[in-house]
């Protein structure tokens, strides 16, 4: 696969639009992708994005688009987006980016204090 954790993290940051991402999570997610056939093209994806290519052009390649989808769902939801979707664990669930992007929190985690929902979000 020939992509290291640092490179994987960088390409993930570009694809998710979120920075900075956890190196430790990047390590785990890279592991989760290891056995996926799509992962064979991780290095190519990383190189193209680091070369300054617009991420959306990468999507024209259907295989790369599948890889991008896997990467996005890993980071946004802590899930491996295969069929059926595979949960990776509570740590990954609670690390999902989606919830903070929409100014909320993963269900099953307090939003901070009793009544916070009466006010506009602080996050």
């Amino acid at each position: 696969m020939a992509v290291d954790v640092g490179q994987f993290r960088r390409l993930s940051q570009t694809l998710t639009g979120c920075t900075p991402l956890s190196l430790e999570l990047a390590d785990r997610y890279l592991d989760n992708l290891a056995d996926r056939p799509e992962a064979a093209r991780l290095s190519e994806l990383g190189t193209r994005l680091e070369g300054g290519e617009d991420p959306s052009t990468v999507l024209a390649d259907p295989e790369l688009k599948e890889l991008v989808r896997l990467v996005l769902v890993l980071w946004y939801f802590g899930l491996l987006d295969i069929t059926p979707a595979k949960a990776l664990g509570p740590e990954q669930y609670y690390s999902g980016l989606f919830w903070s992007v929409v100014h909320a929190h993963p269900p099953g985690l307090s939003g901070g204090y009793s009544g916070y929902w009466a006010y506009p979000p602080e996050n």
Binding site: H103, P107, G108, Y116, A118
Partner: protein, 553 residues
């Protein structure tokens, strides 16, 4: 093995069974509380399973191999063999329950409104369904008691109005904070009337602590009430199981009751453990509080309550749907309890002659559990968005998601029923076979609710207003619904023993030592979530149970 020394054997440790066991044990009675499910109720473990699941679904915290095998419920039965329920036809019955110490309140939303007065007299008022053998006024003091026990948070002044049922006592806790979304919405629909009815957004009474209460913390907005509150701010039956045990009741878990056998002097209750060993416990009175599917199932297996022919019949559920929309400004969903306010204006009215009443909940949960953020992300990706553009668009779309959940009343019908199937479960007990269908009364309710929601959203300036597809195959759109989990009716209450299973004290007409508690006794279901009314009936029935225990041997 027999233990003849109990006064009361309670079957089912959900909210009704647990409170019954607690109250009777506190009076010094010898109580045995039997539960088919497991007693593994460590909240941390439940959260771990919930968060470690792929979909945080209804049963996700509660899957347990042995529990699922020997005390199955419909979303936990071995999926390879098909669902636990056997479908008698024509529609799949969609609601389920939890078989575990504490019962279904583990995953209930926690909304606890009362019935409205006319819910008890649907027949005499509107010529549909049947009347209850008691009135709202009869039950009112017991509603107050039920609210105390559950720690209901509510706004007394807003709810103390005649059409919703006057209140003789304030709620034990003030109302849960309305959400930011509720406040914005209230501002937009302040003076609105639909069909000549004023639309008033009221905070929903809920068994969720607005303030630390009874040793449990205040709601901190974990937003996962369904299926689990990680901190115990939402009420669950385990609260009263603990109190019952502290008061001296004996809990026997993993005890699947297979037969109830009342005689003139005693009731023998036979149960089986998961290892197959069989035991009997006897009491002077038995209380069956095993939910509206398992209760008739057990009574059918025991050949009891047969004389009226109503046992297992009149199966009801609230049939629900969603009208979704995009709000004109960000409302920031996924924060706080899944719903904090609702519209009760259509829970009663002359239209009930032709179609069911309904309650509306304004969601704080986007487009609800049927709408998956993962789908939205995938769809944006398919549109060629990625990176910051995707992130921004995902945010932009999500923060304006809003919905009404409508919950409609259906009529009790004899052909909607629970029977015993030929198929058996892992203990060799006949599985429930369910017959369920939708009629014009319900279809009218769906249409009515949908048009009211449409009108309200339009008045509030929302866009993309649409009925969310439930996605059931081979069913016409006008017949689509989701089950609310409000199962009731199968052991109906009535004054006439030829037409009902229990009397107004929840005592079986056919067996004076047998009481049936829970929503299975409801003759009609109104539009309120059943828990509070079921607990109010417990409060009322306790008078009769205690008197019986004191006067008999």
């Amino acid at each position: 093995m027999t233990d003849p020394k109990a006064d009361v054997v309670v079957i089912g440790s959900g909210v009704c069974g647990a409170i019954t066991a607690w109250q009777l044990a506190a009076q010094g009675k010898r109580v045995v509380l039997l539960e088919a499910g497991t007693n593994h109720v460590d909240r941390g473990h439940l959260v771990e399973r919930f968060a470690g699941s792929a979909d945080q679904g209804l049963g996700s915290p509660y899957h347990d191999r042995r529990n699922d095998r020997f005390a199955p419920a419909s979303d936990t039965f071995n999926k390879d063999d098909g669902s636990y329920y056997v479908r008698g036809g024509p529609r799949t019955f969609q609601s389920t329950y939890v078989r575990r110490v504490g019962g279904t309140t583990w995953h209930f939303l926690g909304n606890t409104p009362r019935f409205v007065p006319n819910d008890f007299r649907l027949e005499s008022r509107y010529g549909r369904g049947v009347d209850w053998p008691l009135s709202y006024d009869d039950l009112e003091p017991h509603y107050c008691q039920a609210e105390q026990w559950l720690g209901v948070s509510g706004d007394h002044d807003a709810w103390n109005v005649e059409e919703l049922g006057t209140r003789s006592r304030p709620f034990p806790n003030r109302e849960i904070w309305p959400s930011y979304s509720d406040r914005l919405f209230s501002g937009r629909v302040g003076d609105l009337s639909v069909e000549g009815t004023r639309v008033v957004l009221r905070t929903t009474p809920q068994a969720r602590n607005s303030r630390p209460y009874d040793g449990r913390p205040a709601c901190a907005g974990n937003s996962s009430c369904v299926p689990l509150c990680p901190i115990g701010a939402k009420y669950d039956g385990a609260v009263h199981v603990a109190k019952a045990r502290k008061a001296g009741a004996r809990l026997i878990a993993e005890a699947v009751v297979t037969k109830v056998a009342p005689t003139a002097e005693r009731v023998a209750v036979v149960y089986r453990h998961y290892d197959g060993s069989e035991h009997t416990v006897e009491g002077r009175i038995a209380v069956v509080a095993a939910n509206a599917i398992e209760t008739p199932r057990l009574l059918l297996m025991s050949n009891l309550c047969a004389s009226s022919g109503q046992l297992g019949r009149n199966l009801m559920d609230h049939l629900q749907g969603t009208v979704a929309a995009k709000a004109p400004e960000p409302v920031f969903p996924y924060r706080g309890p899944p719903t904090t306010s609702g519209i009760d204006a259509f829970r009663d009215g002359g239209f009930r002659r032709e179609g069911g009443a309904f309650r509306l909940s304004l969601g704080n949960d986007g487009w609800g559990r049927g709408d998956h953020p993962t789908d939205r992300l995938r769809s944006l990706l398919d549109q060629g968005l990625v990176g910051t553009a995707l992130r921004n668009e995902l945010e932009r779309q999500t923060v304006r998601l809003i919905r009404f959940s409508y919950s409609t009343e259906m009529l009790p019908r004899a052909d909607n029923r629970v029977e015993l199937a030929d198929e058996v479960d892992a203990l060799g007990l006949p599985r429930p076979r369910l017959f369920f269908s939708v009629d014009d009364y319900s279809r009218a309710a769906f249409k009515h609710a949908q048009s009211v929601c449409q009108a309200i959203f339009e008045a509030a300036g929302c866009e993309e207003i649409h009925v969310l597809s439930v996605g059931i195959d081979n069913v016409a759109p006008e017949d689509q619904f989701l089950g609310a989990g409000h199962i009731s009716g199968t052991c109906r209450m009535g004054a006439d023993p030829t037409a009902s299973v229990v009397n107004a004290d929840c005592q079986a007409h056919d067996h004076e030592r047998l009481y049936i508690l829970g929503s299975s006794v409801f003759p009609t279901e109104g539009t309120a979530n059943p828990t509070l009314t079921a607990v109010a009936l417990v409060s009322r029935a306790l008078g009769s149970i205690t008197a019986a225990l004191d006067s008999w041997q």
